[in-house]
């Protein structure tokens, strides 16, 4: 019974979240958002609408001006970082580091990190664990970073543009990894412009406009059925310039 209650509790709740970088120019204004376990949610919107800002607020690298973030029912703190596996939109590695050193680093700080799984995934993607990051291309760095993030058993995975710099051949593998590696107790938030690529993986979606306004959201399959068109087509219509 207890397990049942835990499983249905939202993993992430954002209440009246506000954030602005400049005065009178809010990136997020009274933003409300909820993510349930077992779902892969696509956060889709034009450039500068606040998708990355939202993920940064949830991960704790930005401080909200006001509002509240709850993770598994608890107010956000350093402890909640243990529940989140966050992939930022740019690589954060020091160039002199070796890939295998980062595996050790993750294993040291995150008890839920599966080093064997990470090594297998690196092997599948043809990344040498002994390579230094300075010797890797931008796309390979992103792949390596994604491997680290997806090799954790976190409750919430947040992937900011996970396919941005990755070649089309590796995209399928990455999407299979995203779908295959998370458990029903966890959830995934993906932000991307490559809607057609991620669409098959999405359970839920939210179209986010400037100021953090949610224009449209819901179940991906139901919306496709109701509208008779793909999310990609719908996105192009909603955000047509």
């Amino acid at each position: 019974m207890t397990e049942q209650i835990l499983n249905t509790e939202p993993i992430l709740v954002c209440k009246d979240l506000c954030k602005s970088y400049k005065k009178n120019k809010p990136v997020l204004k009274d933003f409300n958002f909820c993510v349930e376990p077992g779902k892969i949610t696509g956060l889709l919107g034009p450039n500068g609408c606040g998708k990355s800002t939202l993920l940064k607020l949830i991960s704790g690298i930005l401080v909200p001006d006001s509002g509240e973030i709850l993770l598994c029912g608890q107010k956000r703190s350093e402890k909640s970082n243990a529940l989140i596996s966050y992939l930022p939109d740019s690589p954060y590695f020091s160039d002199g580091q070796k890939v295998e050193n980062m595996l050790t680093y993750f294993a040291d700080f995150y008890p839920d990190f599966d080093k064997t799984l990470a090594l297998n995934m690196l092997g599948d993607l043809g990344i040498d664990p002994k390579a230094r990051f300075r010797t890797l291309s931008k796309g390979t760095k992103e792949k390596a970073q994604l491997v680290l993030v997806m090799s954790r058993k976190a409750r919430l995975y947040m992937l900011d543009e996970p396919l941005g710099g990755v070649d089309p051949a590796a995209r399928d593998y990455i999407l299979r990894t995203i779908i295959g590696n998370y458990s029903p107790d966890s959830a995934v938030i993906i932000t991307t412009h490559l809607i057609a690529d991620v669409e098959p993986a999405l359970d839920d979606f939210a179209f986010m406009n400037y100021g953090g306004e949610i224009l449209l959201s819901g179940n991906a399959d139901e919306t496709r059925e109701e509208q008779g068109k793909s999310l990609d087509t719908l996105f192009r219509e909603v955000f047509a310039c």
């Binding site: 991960s59 930005l62 401080v63 966050y86 930022p88 740019s90 690589p91 954060y92 590695f93 700080f109």
Partner: protein
């Protein structure tokens, strides 16, 4: 978690620190040779060499200082990169309190800064000792202990007491140095964003000059008093008895150390507050 943070801070800082430390140590070899030439003035055949040795001395001294600066800066480079560089995305998503991250940086910075000074002094004293140029200073310093301090404590303990008292004082001075620079980096990182590095360099330059002056005053005063007690400075210069002088210097050092500790706590508190409440990595 502090232990894990320390492990990585030590490892990463060491990667740059050793380059400076090695430069400083290697500079001691030519420094010894140059000082040997300079102190052998009695031999007329090397008078030209002595003249040549003067610019060489400053060149080697410059190399030594460069090494020390690299070693000293390594702790601040680590702090900046980890908190305000691209690594910040990883740093602040670790399940570690920000105060723990800060404490780890502070502890490793103290260790490496103190060891930078130790290496510099070891290098300099080795050069002086090997060149036999400054033996008189060593002897005078050793003999000087016989006056004031020996009246208060057993002779065997004099060296240990001076080391401990000055050790605590110098640790507090080093801490104020480290924490001031940490606060500057944190302030510039939080408020200057894109221009943080430029702001840090300007602030380091200003504080470096001002700080050196402020720190030099108590240091110079303290050393003068100790030298007075130990007989290196004519006792008549200081119009009090040796016991009184030892007690006065001790009390003054204690008060200054307490004041420095209070300032250190304030600096650490301010940095932590900025990191906790104002930091926006973007």
């Amino acid at each position: 978690m502090l232990r894990k943070c320390l492990k990585y801070d030590f490892k990463e800082t060491f990667k740059l620190w050793w380059v400076g430390a090695l430069t400083t140590l290697l500079s001691c070899i030519p420094m010894t040779l140059v000082m040997r030439i300079m102190t052998n003035n009695e031999d007329p055949s090397i008078s030209d060499g002595t003249l040549l040795a003067i610019p060489l001395f400053f060149l080697v001294w410059f190399g030594m200082m460069i090494g020390t600066v690299i070693s000293t800066l390594s702790v601040y480079i680590r702090y900046y990169r980890h908190f305000f560089g691209k690594e910040a995305y990883l740093t602040f998503t670790l399940p570690v309190k920000r105060s723990t991250l800060f404490t780890s940086k502070f502890m490793s910075a103290m260790f490496f800064t103190i060891f930078t000074y130790v290496i510099l002094f070891v290098g300099l004293f080795s050069a002086v000792f090997l060149s036999e140029g400054g033996m008189g200073v060593f002897e005078a310093f050793e003999n000087g202990f016989s006056s004031g301090l020996k009246s208060l404590i057993p002779a065997a303990m004099v060296g240990a007491v001076v080391t401990v008292v000055y050790g605590i004082f110098l640790t507090a001075v080093t801490a104020i140095n480290v924490l001031s620079y940490f606060l500057i980096i944190t302030f510039c990182g939080v408020y200057f964003k894109k221009y943080s590095l430029l702001a840090i360099i300007v602030a380091f330059y200003i504080l470096g000059n001002f700080g050196s002056f402020v720190v030099a005053l108590p240091l110079a005063g303290g050393f003068l008093a100790i030298f007075g007690v130990t007989g290196l400075v004519d006792a008549n210069l200081i119009s009090m008895g040796p016991i009184q002088l030892v007690l006065t210097v001790g009390a003054a050092l204690l008060l200054v150390t307490i004041a420095l500790t209070a300032i250190n706590m304030l600096l650490a508190f301010l940095s932590n507050e900025l990191l906790e409440r104002k930091l926006n990595v973007s």
